[in-house]
Symmetry: C2
Subunit: 142 residues, 2 copies
DNA sequence: CATTTACATACTTATTTAGTAGGTTGGTAG
DNA sequence: CTACCAACCTACTAAATAAGTATGTAAATG
């Protein structure tokens, strides 16, 4: 598993916000209820999105969150690196990993790099808007 | 991280065996030394490959392991599912995960399925032989 | 029978995951 | 001004996973 609940929930919150972007602020309490997720847990996740300017939060009555970006301009990759920190498929590619002495001769490293690239490419190619337009019923398992 | 040391070490062991497949049995002690990996840890990993017929082990003096398959016929995916059990990018896709009640309406699920498919496709497309032929120096980071 | 090597089981230590608990800060309505 | 609401912060916890170690047993060879 590369992507934990943190990243998945973050995307669901953003989609929920995108689906009802009237300009009003939507309290996390509502989103947690709709998405059937722990409010307390979401309250730990969403500030990560807030700090990076993906959403803006307003305190107090009538407050809540509002999408601060165009869903078409926000890729899943962008969201996931905020919450997961890193999506490296192997620990040797994690940012901050101490450089491996065998890397120059490592026959497997190129595969991990290519896998990493493919994962990043795909997740960068999918935006929140793409998911909004998705009708899950259109997809069937092959 | 989807792929732990278990899977990565398994591949390195298989490559080591493939590089010197004279028909002789090669003791894990030698491979551990060459690859600079813990012998004891490898002794826990390699039986997984042995049970599935990727390698054959022979006890006693002159014993060790020998590749039992054609490196060109063995994909990395095949090796990794043996050692990792599962390479699902999200827990909802892990085999044995309890089916999610929201899955029919879940707008994110198709993305995870497609990501899963791309990871599997790539890892199925790379064989041990491909890695043998690899000269790591040919690859540069972009 | 002694040595060598594969194979098995149980433990350990650190980290990560998926939250909970309990508060503080800032803004709104009455 | 005060009650309320909602964002935000910090610390904690329980369970699982990762990455090994330790200590054996089983089988083959010389």
């Amino acid at each position: 598993m590369i992507i934990s609940t943190k990243g998945r929930y973050a995307i669901r919150v953003l989609l929920d916000l995108a689906e009802r972007c009237s300009g009003d602020y939507i309290p996390m309490r509502d989103i947690a209820a709709r998405q059937e997720l722990s409010l307390k847990y979401l309250e730990r996740i969403v500030p990560l999105l807030s700090k990076s300017g993906l959403v803006e939060g307003v305190h107090g009555k009538g407050g809540g969150y509002r999408l601060a970006i165009d869903p078409g301009e926000c890729s899943l990759w962008q969201v996931l690196i905020l919450t997961e920190g890193d999506l490296a498929p192997v620990s040797c590619l994690e940012c901050g990993a101490k450089p491996c002495e065998r890397s120059a001769a490592c026959k497997t490293l190129p595969v991990w790099k290519e896998l990493d690239r493919r994962i990043r490419d795909y997740l960068q190619s999918v935006t929140l808007r793409d998911l909004l337009e998705t009708n899950p019923a259109d997809h069937y398992v092959i």
